[in-house]
């Protein structure tokens, strides 16, 4: 290459810099024009969160620094073509070879897989103690099932070598610590044998109805169901479900189907959402399909207390103490109990003893997914006597 004179070099450098400056200025002007002119977006469906609006200037806001944080969030949240910038960033990440985004693995076959949660030992001991104490105070049939997550059941879908904490170890530990207290229905083997099926959503951290179905067949004998009806009407209620993992990771292209399993049986029932004071004759909520959180089609999402009364006439009454995994599970239980009490300790704060006697509870099922269970901080609070 020919040597170029310094003067020429400087000239070229200036040209480059000036055009660069122009690019810099134009992009900033564009951003500002949009910031001022565009209608403020209030909600980002893609991220499933409320976007920051222009904050109001107040003395307190300034002194505490809240105004500044909000103003900064405002500019980032209302940035022009925000979703476009985000997918651009996702693509750069992919080119860089990243295999996770915000703690979520970008797995094979389009699967998004949440990393395993590490147990919060302090709260977990409290919960386990409270469960042991609760079960020993009463003489119902106590069963627990803690469902491992996709990260360990479908580990073949993880990016190669992804460090997945050993959920089986956590599970064995929980089982060990509750031995003699209650019956532990360990569904991991069952789910493992079906792990090539569509048992977890690709874009959401929940299991599918199929996953719940396999688990139900395994758990049924533990909770006093000797001969489950094995006939269901299966309906696909949506094929455009994008779940929480999709929002959290920013990988928006994945779509899921939601199936519902309606047992073929004559038993009729009424669902009562106690705190909301609402009643319904179905466990499905079709209006949830119009929203972003389509998994809420099962029981309308999480509620402090749901009471289901049926015409089963079997003299058994079930209480489920649960997280959202149970929502897709309840549909399988309807034909077998006179009443089902569904308690979500994260939201429920009343006296649980009253429920036990009011409902003449014969069976109690703790149904959780492992990720939630090891981090839960609410079970003990509900089970302890006041």
């Amino acid at each position: 290459m020919k040597k170029i004179s310094n003067k020429k070099q400087n000239l070229h450098k200036n040209t480059i810099n000036i055009i660069t400056l122009a690019v810099f200025v134009i992009i900033i002007i564009l951003a500002d024009v949009f910031l001022i002119a565009s209608h403020d977006r209030t909600f980002s469906p893609k991220e499933n969160r409320v976007l920051q609006q222009a904050p109001e200037l107040t003395g307190d806001g300034l002194a505490s620094g809240k105004y500044m944080t909000q103003a900064e969030d405002f500019v980032a949240d209302q940035f022009f073509l925000r979703d476009g910038w985000i997918s651009y960033k996702m693509n750069v990440d992919k080119i860089l070879g990243k295999k996770e985004s915000n703690g979520i693995y970008l797995g094979k076959n389009g699967y998004l897989i949440e990393a395993a949660a590490v147990p919060d030992e302090k709260n977990m001991s409290k919960n386990l103690d409270a469960i042991a104490d609760f079960c020993s105070r009463h003489d119902f049939n106590a069963v627990m099932s803690v469902v491992p997550n996709a990260v360990s059941i479908c580990s073949h879908l993880l990016p190669a070598g992804a460090p997945a904490a050993d959920q089986m170890k956590y599970l064995a530990d929980i089982r060990e610590r509750l031995s003699g207290v209650l019956q532990f229905a360990d569904v991991s083997e069952t789910l493992n044998s079906h792990n090539r099926e569509y048992i977890y959503y690709k874009s959401d951290h929940h299991w599918t109805s199929l996953g719940a179905y396999h688990a139900f067949n395994y758990i049924a004998p533990y909770i006093g169901i000797d001969s489950p009806v094995n006939a269901y009407d299966i309906y696909c209620v949506t094929d455009s479900f994008t779940g929480t993992l999709s929002s959290a990771s920013g990988a928006a292209s994945v779509r899921d189907e939601i199936d519902i399993y309606v047992p073929k049986s004559d038993v009729r029932y009424v669902v009562e959402y106690v705190n909301e004071n609402e009643k319904s004759t179905t466990v499905y909520r079709s209006e949830a399909l119009e929203t972003n959180s389509k998994y809420d089609v099962f029981l309308g999402g999480n509620h402090p207390l749901i009471r289901i009364r049926t015409t089963a006439g079997r003299d058994r009454n079930l209480m489920i103490i649960k997280d959202s995994y149970a929502n897709a599970f309840v549909q399988f239980l309807l034909p077998y109990y006179d009443s089902i009490y569904i308690v979500d300790p994260r939201y429920y704060s009343d006296d649980i003893e009253k429920l036990l006697s009011e409902g003449s509870i014969t069976d109690v099922l703790f149904l959780y997914n492992l990720n939630t269970f090891v981090e839960d901080n609410s079970i003990a609070g509900v089970l302890e006597t006041f």
Binding site: M1, K2, I4, K8, Q9, H12, K13, N14, T15, I16, N17, I18, I19, T20, L21, V23, F24, I27, I28, I29, A31, D32, L35, L62, A63, S64, G65, M68, A71, E72, F74, V75, A76, F79, R82, W85, I86, Y88, K89, V92, I95, L96, G97, K98, K99, E100, P159, A160, G161, A162, P163, G250
Partner: protein, 470 residues
């Protein structure tokens, strides 16, 4: 407020620059002062008053020192100087080290004095050092007294270097405060500096930082050898690109306003010795300590014993400057000892050794330095260290190691290349070619770096800033 945020880029910077360019010269420093105070108040709405206090207090001190010199009252002058020095240092120590000192006292004497630490004012370490450089130079008579409080305030608060340096010495900038030029060439060069710095910080530092976080989130007792090395190497890159990126942005912003700051980093990771590393790393801090501590103590023009003392004092202070914890002091002393070792013993071997061995030696010592620097406690330091040599029995590598390696390979390569002058040289070569293709390439590079950084900023809540605490 930090530079790598959409708010700074789209609101603060354009508004400030437009006003700055629009007002006549005699108001430019005032505007700079005002903008800087707002910039500071944005993050520290209360401590901005502390900063104003410092400005007025030291402005007054400067005038006293000047007057007393004219009156030839040198004794009084000395006591005024010492008083000013003590007040400045006491303020720094109070906000930065009060909690540290108190908890050490409690631990040592078993006392139970309640430690009620006030939060640390951002950038106090940086601006205190700038102030001291003025006060000391005035006392020594190296510079004249600044009678214009606006110019003085603008020097102390100047937002480009306010919270993360470079530490600009008064001597280097006093002429520019009165007289500087703003040309299109300078402004656009500043923009280019800024974009390069932004890219370093947002694309390289933040991304490789996630690898460091991931590795150090694994308990040391479960960390295989290779993973441990990967983690600390990631940190080595993170801290360099974070800090030097921030310095580049500061230099760029300075240029956009007509200033010229000295460069703060000069490819430190290509050094062949620790001595060389510290000539290339955070140059403005090294210079400051040399000028105001090392040389006044006698520097190296004293006998060996005093020289050793001088070096150790300077490096213990350098460590302490970075944070109020024993790990930082240890880190400083580690370098002090290495420098002494090189000076009195290793130096001649290093200059004779093959270059790649010297590089390796320098890099490894620096990496171990960062290991000390990041250690939350001495015990954790021991564990982290053991993990790097397999002393905790976790084998050489596991599935996770390859996962981290594969998913960061490209980034690691980029980091390695960008810590050497090679990329910059090739970039210049291509862009100064005769044909216009090279220049188009260069502009596309800048545009890509800028837009990609912006995409990360729009997306990201992950934007921690390492050098806030110092």
């Amino acid at each position: 407020m930090i530079f790598s945020s959409t708010f700074f880029l789209c609101v603060f910077l354009p508004v400030t620059l437009i006003l700055y360019y629009a007002v006549p010269w005699k108001f430019k420093n005032f505007l700079l002062l005002l903008a800087s105070l707002i910039f500071y108040a944005w993050g520290e709405p209360v401590y901005v008053f502390l900063m104003m206090f410092s400005i007025v207090f030291n402005y007054i001190a400067g005038i006293q020192l000047g007057d007393l010199k004219k009156q030839r009252r040198f004794k009084t002058r000395k006591s005024v100087f010492l008083f000013t020095l003590i007040v400045n240092i006491a303020m720094l120590c109070f906000f930065k080290y009060y909690g540290f000192v108190l908890s050490n006292i409690n631990a040592l004497f078993g006392t139970d004095i309640p430690v009620r630490q006030l939060s640390l004012p951002i950038g106090i370490s940086f601006y205190t050092f700038q102030i001291l450089s003025y006060v000391i130079d005035v006392y020594w008579g190296k510079v004249n007294v600044q009678f214009n409080i606006i110019d003085f305030g603008a020097y102390i608060t100047m937002f480009p270097q306010l919270i993360a340096g470079p530490i600009v010495r008064y001597e280097d900038i006093r002429r520019q405060l009165r007289r500087r030029t703003i040309t299109l060439a300078k402004v656009s060069d500043g923009a280019a500096w800024f974009i390069r710095g932004l890219g370093k910080k947002v694309l390289l530092a933040n991304n490789i930082g996630m690898l460091y976080d991931a590795v150090f989130a694994i308990p040391a007792s479960d960390r295989p050898v290779l993973t441990a090395w990967l983690g600390i190497i990631a940190y080595t890159f993170q801290i360099y690109f974070d800090f030097s990126g921030y310095s580049d942005m500061a230099i760029g912003l300075g240029k956009m306003m007509g200033f010229k700051f000295l460069r703060n980093f000069d490819y430190p990771y290509v050094s062949t010795s620790v001595t060389e590393f510290w000539r290339r790393w955070h140059i403005s801090l090294g210079t400051w300590f040399r000028e105001y501590v090392y040389i006044p103590l006698g520097g190296n023009r004293v006998n060996a014993a005093r020289h050793i003392r001088n070096i150790l004092v300077v490096w213990a202070l350098t460590g302490l400057w970075h944070g109020s914890d024993w790990a930082y002091i240890l880190w400083g002393l580690y370098y002090g000892l290495l420098l002494l070792l090189e000076k009195y013993f290793l130096g001649k071997y290093i200059s004779r050794a093959p270059r790649f061995l010297a590089h390796l030696y320098a890099l490894v010592t620096v990496i171990f330095g960062w290991l000390i620097f990041t250690a939350p406690s001495v015990q954790a330091l021991g564990l982290n260290f053991s993990a790097m040599f397999g002393a905790l029995g976790n084998g050489f590598a596991d599935g996770g190691t390859w996962y981290y390696f594969a998913s960061n390979l490209l980034l690691l390569i980029l980091c390695i290349l960008c810590s050497t002058p090679v990329v910059w040289r090739i970039f210049c070569r291509i862009s100064y070619e005769k044909s216009s293709a090279g220049r188009i390439f260069a502009v596309v590079c800048y545009a890509l770096i800028f837009t990609t950084s912006l995409a990360y900023l729009v997306n990201s809540t992950y934007n921690p800033f390492l050098y806030f605490k110092f």
